[in-house]
């Protein structure tokens, strides 16, 4: 069994749809700006990456709008794009062979805030019955499953930003167990007053007000990250199934590993490096086989140094091109790593690495060959995607071009 990606649906600050997102990304056009979804001007964090021109009723069935959170709306829309891209009509496939595994970081916080306000202002009878299903992490997976009649193994992974890779790894396991296709990836929608306040508590968000200086991972002046909404939904399928349908995959999920950091009071080292080496081992490749790394890029001086050291220890100083296109969208939480995976697949397709924007001077702790400001032409056969989640989650995933002889 080889897990390949045959469909991509992007709903990102950089654009709706794969090509719109990818061309904006190659232009190095940042989508970070003052938040529009609510007035955040009086909050300590007021910048974000928002999906532009998303008209919910044009992309989500009317019945599902009052029943689900914005985060689910984004995922339902992305799923439609991914299924179309993969050439899949769910009604034509056996319902128990279609699975759904998504990631979620915070669930439906905006929906939840709205209903809690109704509870306190007007009383219990004013709380929507849909609160019971809209807020919790599995809502998106459940709604995709119901909408498309996908009754195979379904689940949700909650591991902050690392969850996006964990979901793809789980999708691969589900395929190995016999599913035919898996709708996977993830989205998040962190922009409500309550949602933003919850994020502030990690102390890692950028308080900058100038979008050009707000999120500068690996820079001497790194001072936090900017949050963003959206993500990507992909169709993961067994290579044999894709071949039977005459679909050329974008690439394959070749390896994966996860690790968990020791607690802050431990004197043991962070465990990111073992996730990276584990993913390479799982893919059966050497560090020299990796053409590019899509970094987690936390934007925090300590976390950036941890990642840079982990990359240097595995690959050598300045030994592999590293990029962080998420500098244009902000960190999308559960949607971040799936979007990085999409960018890695596009790098394989087009032979070009997307840029990292906003970095002026690399920190002395970060001895990385960072692709800055402009795309870099490069034949990419194999890429590594790194993702970390708040609280100690580390994940690494190897994606490579799909060679049919390897099936």
């Amino acid at each position: 069994m080889t897990a390949v990606i045959t469909g991509i649906g992007v709903l990102a600050p950089t654009g709706i749809g794969l090509e719109e997102h990818w061309s904006a990304t190659l232009r190095g056009k940042s989508a970070i700006g003052p938040l529009q979804r609510f007035d955040a001007s009086s909050y300590p964090v007021s910048l974000g990456g928002e999906v532009p021109d998303f008209v919910t009723k044009e992309r989500v069935p009317g019945r599902l709008i009052p029943q689900t959170d914005h985060w689910t709306h984004l995922a339902l829309a992305a799923t439609d794009l991914a299924l179309t891209d993969a050439g899949i009509t769910p009604a034509e496939l056996p319902e128990y062979e279609m699975a759904v595994v998504t990631a979620s970081s915070s669930g439906g916080v905006e929906f939840g805030q709205q209903e809690i306000q109704r509870l306190w202002a007007n009383g219990p009878r004013h709380v929507s019955a849909y609160q019971s299903i809209a807020w919790f992490y599995a809502a998106t997976t459940g709604q995709i499953s119901i909408r498309h009649g996908m009754r195979g193994p379904c689940g949700v992974v909650v591991a902050e930003q690392a969850g996006g890779l964990e979901a793809l790894a789980q999708a691969r396991r589900v395929l190995a167990d016999g599913a035919r296709i898996v709708v996977s990836g993830g989205t998040d929608a962190p922009f409500s007053p309550y949602g933003l306040i919850c994020q502030l508590s990690n102390g890692l968000l950028s308080r900058a007000t100038d979008p050009d200086q707000a999120y500068r991972p690996f820079d001497r002046a790194a001072a936090g990250y900017v949050p963003g909404e959206g993500g990507a939904i992909v169709i993961v399928e067994d290579a044999e199934s894709a071949a039977r349908r005459n679909r050329q995959p974008y690439g394959e999920i070749a390896g994966y590993a996860a690790s968990f950091d020791p607690p802050p009071w431990s004197d043991r080292q962070p465990a990111l490096g073992s996730a990276i080496t584990g993913a390479l081992r799982d893919a059966g490749i050497q560090p020299s086989d990796v053409d590019a790394v899509f970094a987690d890029a936390a934007g925090d001086p300590y976390l950036d140094a941890v990642e840079a050291v982990a990359i240097s220890e595995v690959f050598g100083d300045y030994a592999v091109p590293v990029t962080a296109p998420k500098t244009m969208t902000g960190r999308l939480y559960a949607g971040g790593a799936p979007l990085d995976l999409v960018d890695a697949l596009m790098a394989i397709r087009d032979g070009v690495l997307p840029p990292t924007v906003g970095v002026r001077a690399l920190s002395a702790d970060c001895q990385l060959d960072l692709v800055r400001d402009r795309p870099r032409k490069l034949r990419v056969r194999t890429a590594l995607v790194v993702a970390r989640g708040y609280g100690g989650f580390n994940a690494a995933l190897v994606v490579r071009e799909h060679n049919e002889r390897r099936v």
Binding site: P66, Q67, H126, A129
Partner: protein, 85 residues
């Protein structure tokens, strides 16, 4: 108090459950069409019951709500209760 009409209930159903603009199932005579056939699941019926209580002022317990299977049953329940007052 005037009796509640199917049109008023239709509006309330749309507000409760959302509806597609090209979704025509709520048009026409649906008085005896089971909610399930209108693609309204048990949660949607609970939401309709909540709105009947807060917008129309007729309390609907969860037990009663569970027994409401068609628009006519909702209207009969509401109008019987209003008539007693």
């Amino acid at each position: 108090m005037a009796e509640r009409s199917l049109d008023e209930l239709r509006e309330l159903m749309i507000a409760s459950a959302g509806v597609d603009e090209d979704q025509l199932k709520l048009d026409g005579d649906i008085l005896d069409t089971p909610f399930a056939d209108l693609e309204l699941d048990s949660l949607a019926v609970l939401e309709i019951a909540s709105r009947v209580e807060r917008d129309w002022g007729v309390p609907v317990s969860d037990t009663v709500a569970n027994g409401l299977k068609t628009p006519r049953m909702v209207l009969d329940f509401v109008n019987d209760r209003t008539a007693v007052r």
